[in-house]
């Protein structure tokens, strides 16, 4: 079966002239990101096209307040890791568009000091179109929270309220940590719960606890903890924001 990159690109809303790395993959810096600082492995355009012929999501990455080059590299790495992890269960990550809320317009929401402020940010802004809003903020200062999803749908078709619509991630951390938080919170938004119960985020974690799973709370996780099970894939693919294949 022949796959046309141009057809796939048109299907996900790209114009006829586009950059493969910047537009098709959504890497702002226009290079394959490195998560751990070493050289990045090559990407397979064919594999990405195949994924987009199946169920996939689009991301709208919203930079809240000031952005620097370190943040760009961190966010590109997060998109890359998320795409790689979700691919293991047949869910593609398609277009990643970048939006910005200026420091002035952010009106202090680049720092989230409480749960209500999180919901206020999610309710205040939304990118047009069919992408999932992911807000990259400078700091989430309450407790040890590093990211949070606006909601966890309880069933297919369960939609968020306007102030639950999206995910926030603290961008001001190490690349690998931000990448896992990014994929983890997006997993919540797509319907996944924690794998170690909800009663404790730190040891002793509730059994049975899949410590290498993406949805394990960070305090209970071992290693990079990026595995996703096939049943989790089924749950994610039924979310109403998942696009049918190109």
């Amino acid at each position: 079966m022949a796959i046309s990159l141009r057809q796939i690109a048109a299907c996900i809303g790209l114009p006829p002239a586009f950059s493969v790395l910047r537009d098709f993959y959504g890497f702002w810096e226009g290079v394959i990101p490195s998560v751990t600082g070493g050289s990045a492995p090559p990407l397979s355009v064919t594999q990405q096209c195949l994924l987009l012929k199946g169920p996939h999501i689009h991301l709208d990455i919203i930079h809240v307040g000031t952005i620097d080059a370190d943040d760009d590299a961190t966010i590109d790495a997060a998109v890359h890791v998320c795409r790689t992890v979700y691919a293991t269960v047949g869910l593609g990550v398609g277009r990643a568009r970048h939006f910005v809320i200026s420091q002035a317009d952010a009106n202090g929401m680049d720092v989230i000091d409480s749960d209500t402020e999180k919901h206020n940010l999610l309710g205040a802004w939304s990118a047009p179109g069919n992408g999932i809003d992911i807000f990259m903020v400078r700091d989430i200062s309450y407790g040890s929270v590093v990211g949070s999803a606006g909601y966890i749908p309880s069933q297919c078709g369960d939609t968020p309220a306007s102030d639950e619509d999206g995910v926030i991630v603290d961008v001001n951390r190490a690349n690998a940590a931000v990448a896992r938080t990014f994929a983890h919170e997006l997993g919540h938004f797509l319907g996944l719960s924690h794998t170690c119960g909800e009663s404790s985020a730190t040891p002793p974690c509730a059994a049975p606890c899949q410590t290498t799973n993406l949805m394990t709370q960070s305090g209970c996780a071992s290693g990079s903890a990026l595995q996703v099970t096939s049943s989790q894939g089924v749950t994610m693919r039924c979310h109403f924001m998942v696009q049918s294949g190109c």
Binding site: V100, G108, D113, G123, A124, S141, A174
Partner: protein, 320 residues
């Protein structure tokens, strides 16, 4: 269960940004709650350091969790970075005295934009903590939202046992700025959110007399955060004497006014109603309740904003 406090060496490494396992700003959070004898001095030093702004801001906020930190905070009022100064003012509001109201006001006026709002809120919080008069600290108006919600659902009460569990996990170690009332503490479910309402014990008797006499922090709320499996202080609830009763406002930690309304005092009972303010983009809530010396009861609805009535601001694509 909280993660154990790291050892002094590990904590110091993390504070210097040299720990792969613990981010500097998280280390500040742990230092502020560590009970270490030198925590106050170390936090004050971090505020002055030329380190990352977020770390310095957390250190400034963390000082309010430490006993006798007022003097240390006053010595930090000359910090140049506006966001750090705003955090110092917020912290000072939690531990300062009436003498600090004028200082906070003067310095808040040097701030601009949302930081100026944080400064004004710091002044307001101090005024309610200490019962200062309107002549000393003027009120901040917070008009309610006028939109009509869609997809409304009822706000429901949780089980008393849930409230007690939350109390044990959060309130016992919280720094709320008032003595919390365990007996009337209650849990509500508002859409998908679980919220713990924590009234002030000071209102256990002579409710009317106290509310009508002076400003107060009448309570707080805590929200459950799934990621940390923990409760976190979310809002302060402030009351101000007004004609015929009291004005009520709920503010976030960062100085966002999110619910406003009024209360009517009858003998030993406060009946109140609050709504989402027009300055937020939160779901539209309408909450009414009754506080007596024996109980707190709550009812209300929460609903979404109709997209046609209330379109979100247009986001701009990031320029190349």
């Amino acid at each position: 269960m909280a993660k154990p406090i790291p050892g002094p060496f590990e904590l110091e490494r993390a504070l210097q940004g040299q720990s792969p396992a613990l981010a500097a700003k998280d280390a500040v959070h742990k230092l502020a709650r560590s009970g270490m004898a030198d925590a106050k001095e170390r936090l004050a030093r971090l505020v002055r350091d030329e380190g990352p702004v977020d770390t310095r801001r957390r250190a400034a906020l963390g000082l309010s969790l430490i006993a006798n930190a007022r003097t240390a905070l006053l010595e930090l009022l000359d910090v140049g970075e506006p966001s750090i100064l705003a955090a110092v003012l917020l912290s000072l509001a939690r531990v300062g005295t009436a003498e600090d109201a004028a200082t906070i006001r003067t310095l808040a006026r040097r701030l601009t934009g949302p930081l100026a709002e944080q400064g004004r809120f710091a002044e307001l919080l101090l005024a309610h903590r200490l019962g200062l008069g309107l002549d000393i600290v003027p009120p901040i108006q917070t008009p309610p939202e006028r939109e009509v919600p869609v997809r409304t659902s009822a706000i429901t009460s949780g089980q008393p046992q849930e409230a007690m569990t939350a109390w044990t996990r959060f309130v016992a170690n919280a720094h709320l700025g008032f003595e919390p009332d365990k007996r009337r503490c209650m849990l509500i479910h508002c859409a998908r959110r679980s919220i713990l309402l924590i009234p002030s014990l000071e209102l256990a008797n002579q409710i009317g007399q106290r509310l009508l006499a002076a400003r107060m922090i009448v309570g707080a709320t805590a929200a459950y955060e799934r990621e940390a499996a923990a409760w976190h202080h979310d809002l302060w609830i402030l009351s101000t004497p007004a004609s015929g009763g009291v004005e009520l406002q709920a503010w976030t930690q960062g100085g966002l006014a999110c619910y406003t309304g009024s209360g009517r005092v009858t003998g030993e009972q406060l009946a109140f109603e609050v709504r989402t303010t027009a300055s937020t983009r939160l779901a539209l809530a309408r909450i009414s309740g009754r506080l007596t010396k024996d109980s707190l009861t709550i009812e209300g609805t929460v609903g979404d904003r109709a997209p046609s009535d209330s379109p979100a601001p247009v986001l701009r694509r990031r320029p190349e």
